[in-house]
């Protein structure tokens, strides 16, 4: 039976818009990255301003490169490839544009709010609740547009790239919603619904899977589309791609706890994270090899074609980081790598190599086709490739070096059994590595500028093709297999909604298995009687700590290692964090751990903290920490203190009934006593300054547990 052909269009305008946004935000995000990279070596670059200080710029960098650069890259690829794979126009032009402008508005809002200090204090999920809601809405718009396009398709089977996008959509929706449970206190302030251990588990379940389902699966979709396109040959093994897909989404979701090894997270959850992280090697490498083998017999083309060069290095970097990831999840490796620059190196091999290079390859492939002209300069693109690759190498090697060196220095003891190095010595020692890393990053960005110029010239030489047309028969109502036997998987490949449902079930299993037991133990997290809720002043100080992004450099988690116990004090217990909404364990120690900062072992005077925040080098010469002079001048805003206490009560923190009414009075009393103690050290300051609250908070850290003999466990 022959069917009449239907004619439909492909909208290139929306692809172009996402393409320009990808480039623009890529440059912005990388510039922010470059600034913070050099700030770590030259603290003067923090400019003594809140808006330009590391703790606020770092979330701008991470959010910009993940959600703005890679995010727009995903949408660029999906809006180009999906209609072509489905042989159908995108469902709604209006939804496409709402999606585009909505996402850009969210990015701008993110940059402005993060720099202004509005943050939830949870990595990669820093945006405050109104922005979280906006993200949810726009994500739903994207989902409707995508699924309706799939439903009105003229191609029966969904190509493997489309599965990856379906799984991406549903999983990101689940992760974002679960991790964003927060109780609003005001328009731009909220507290995480979860506390301590639970908050940490949910956060890293989210954080790890943001890497999995935002940086990996959608880009695997792009890989499965653009690599065959650029090589002009089908993917090496479609069978492998099926295994790759199902195994990857099944395993990935379980791996989150590997971010919390040796922490106060229950042991069984840590072990689960390790086992599944290790298993991740298999599907990841199946995917990498599948991509590389697609180029079998085409290696001569790779020599000629910069696009294929980018893809080869991207896949190699994907292979390297997915080998390294499972290794880092082994507890003995993690004991060395965690909290050091090793993690930073690992992340950037993935981000610069995998995400960056897939994006650049796709851009070089798309621009000439959408503007009907050859690329302005292949040679320039090849130069971009070489400079970019060199940039990645120069970035990664110093960071690996820094990571190893610092971890080994942390763990070094003298023959007498005392720690060999002060924390500061371990940082000063790797400063040259920070400078080299900055150079690597600069090279990578230079490559990007070459690309911008190349694309600019190509665009100028060509003429934009706003619409392309395709022709295909409509799908018949009844499916008639054209050949051979059909199998059950072919059933699901024809049914996008069922694919969505099965993907959700597959990813939800892992989530449920990890999260539910952790919530059930709420009553069983051994509370430590000595651990008391924060006083109002300490709570305000904690909010300033979160606002300034102190967690980006300081952990609050002493692991049960000899060196950490010797350096900071006894290791952290789950029961210490029951009032921490959100948890502040951190993931990197550019500065020392602060979990025991107020413990008699480490306690400094109030005036020490005052001077240190004003100018860290006054107290620790050679320190790379930024100065926080504005904390000394700014008045503490107590207008929300009562609502904050009430919010904490709602979340289960046991303040006495009606305490919110006297909270500010208590706050003032405690502030006065700190101001008095400062006055004794000849520091004259009004008690209503922000610095007073910060000092109160820092002095609280680890202090409660001191009086608790029961919780004191000596390491054997």
């Amino acid at each position: 039976m022959t069917q009449s052909l239907e004619r439909f269009h492909y909208d290139n305008k929306i692809v172009k818009a996402f393409m320009y946004a990808t480039i623009l935000w890529g440059v912005v995000g990388m510039l922010a990255g470059l600034l913070i990279a050099f700030q770590m070596a030259f603290p003067g670059l923090n400019f003594n301003l809140p808006y330009t200080t590391f703790g606020r710029v770092r979330p701008v960098h991470t959010n910009a490169v993940i959600f703005a650069f890679v995010g727009n890259g995903i949408f660029m690829g999906v809006y180009y490839a999906l209609p072509r794979l489905m042989k159908a126009s995108m469902y709604s032009r209006r939804l496409s544009w709402i999606h585009f402008w909505g996402w850009q508005a969210i990015i701008v809002a993110a940059a402005v709010t993060l720099l202004s200090g509005f943050t939830t204090g949870k990595e990669y999920a820093e945006l405050e609740w109104p922005v979280d809601i906006a993200i949810t809405l726009i994500w739903v718009v994207f989902g409707i547009n995508m699924f309706m396009t799939i439903l009105k398709r003229r191609e029966r089977h969904l190509y493997v790239a489309v599965w990856f996008w379906i799984a991406t959509w549903v999983t990101v929706a689940m992760l974002h919603i679960v991790n964003s449970f927060e109780l609003p206190v005001s328009f731009m302030k909220s507290y995480s619904w979860y506390a301590g251990v639970q908050d940490a588990l949910v956060q890293w379940w989210y954080g790890h899977n943001a890497v999995a389902f935002f940086l990996t699966t959608p880009y695997l979709g792009l890989m499965y589309y653009f690599v065959p396109k650029a090589a002009n040959r089908p993917v090496y093994s479609y069978r492998w791609s099926i295994i790759h897909f199902w195994a990857l989404i099944f395993i990935y979701i379980w791996a989150g706890p590997h971010h919390l090894l040796y922490t106060a997270l229950p042991d069984w959850a840590q072990s689960l994270g390790t086992v599944f992280s290790f298993m991740l090697i298999f599907p990841s490498w199946a995917g990498m090899l599948n991509g590389l083998m697609t180029l079998r017999g085409a290696w001569d083309k790779v020599r000629e074609d910069p696009i294929l060069k980018f893809f080869v290095v991207a896949l190699t970097c994907y292979g390297m980081s997915t080998f390294e990831g499972p290794m880092l999840s082994l507890k003995n490796v993690n004991a060395i790598s965690h909290f050091t620059d090793w993690t930073v190196a690992h992340v950037h091999v993935g981000a610069l190599g995998w995400n960056g290079f897939i994006t650049f390859g796709a851009l070089y492939w798309l621009v000439p086709r959408m503007f009907g002209t050859p690329l302005y300069s292949k040679k320039l693109a090849a130069n971009h490739f070489w400079i970019g690759t060199l940039g990645i190498i120069l970035y990664a090697i110093p960071m690996y070096w820094a990571g190893f060196t610092q971890a080994l220095m942390w763990k070094e003891f003298t023959p007498e059994g005392t720690l060999q190095y002060q924390f500061l010595q371990t940082v000063s020692n790797i400063r040259p590595m920070y400078i080299l890393r900055g150079v690597g990053g600069t090279l990578y960005l230079v490559g990007v500028f070459l690309m911008v110029y190349n694309i600019w010239k190509t665009v100028a030489a060509g003429k934009f093709i706003p619409t392309e047309y395709g022709e295909a028969p409509a799908l018949s109502k009844i499916y008639q297999p054209s050949h051979g036997n059909t199998y059950w998987h072919s059933w699901i490949e024809r049914r996008p909604i069922q694919m969505l449902a099965v993907s959700l079930v597959v990813v939800a299993i892992g989530g449920l298995f990890e999260l539910i037991p952790t919530f059930l133990i709420k009553s069983n997290v051994p509370t430590i009687a000595a651990v008391k809720p924060y006083t109002p002043l300490e709570l305000e100080g904690r909010d300033i700590y979160i606002r300034e992004g102190c967690y980006t450099c300081h952990s609050q988690m002493v692991r049960p290692f000899r060196d950490e116990v010797a350096r900071y004090g006894e290791y952290s217990k789950a029961g210490e964090f029951v009032y921490d909404h959100p948890f502040q364990w951190g993931s990197k120690r550019t500065g020392p751990d602060l979990a025991r900062e107020g413990h008699s072992k480490n306690r400094k005077s109030d005036s020490w903290h005052y001077n240190h925040m004003m100018k860290p080098t006054l107290m620790s010469p050679g320190s790379l920490m930024p100065s926080y002079p504005w904390l000394l001048d700014a008045d503490l805003d107590t207008s929300l203190t009562a609502s904050k206490i009430k919010a904490m009560q709602t979340l289960g923190v046991p303040y006495a009934k009606g305490y919110e009414k006297i909270a500010v009075a208590d706050l003032n009393k405690q502030a006065a006593s700190i101001a008095e103690s400062l006055a004794k050290d000849k520091i004259k300051t009004a008690p209503n300054k922000e610095i007073i609250a910060v000092i109160a908070y820092l002095q609280k850290l680890g202090r409660d547990i001191e009086s608790n003999k029961e919780a004191t466990v000596t390491l054997k």
């Binding site: 072509r84 589309y225 040959r233 479609y238 295994i243 199902w246 069984w268």
Partner: protein, 55 residues
């Protein structure tokens, strides 16, 4: 005494969790592998060509 072992003991039957997860994964993986290796060759080839004939 507060020891890490407390958390392990605090949920009844927690040891079943890793076991169940492993069984779930193995079964799931086996089924996918079974399908993949018994699938029709021509169907696989046709599907893998989708990105190449999308105009």
């Amino acid at each position: 005494m507060m020891k890490f072992i407390n958390y392990l003991e605090s949920i009844t039957g927690i040891s079943i969790y890793p076991l169940v997860s492993l069984v779930l994964f193995t079964v799931f993986f086996a089924v996918v592998a079974l399908y993949v290796f018994t699938a029709d060759k021509r169907a696989m080839e046709r599907k893998s060509h989708m990105p190449l004939d999308d105009h």
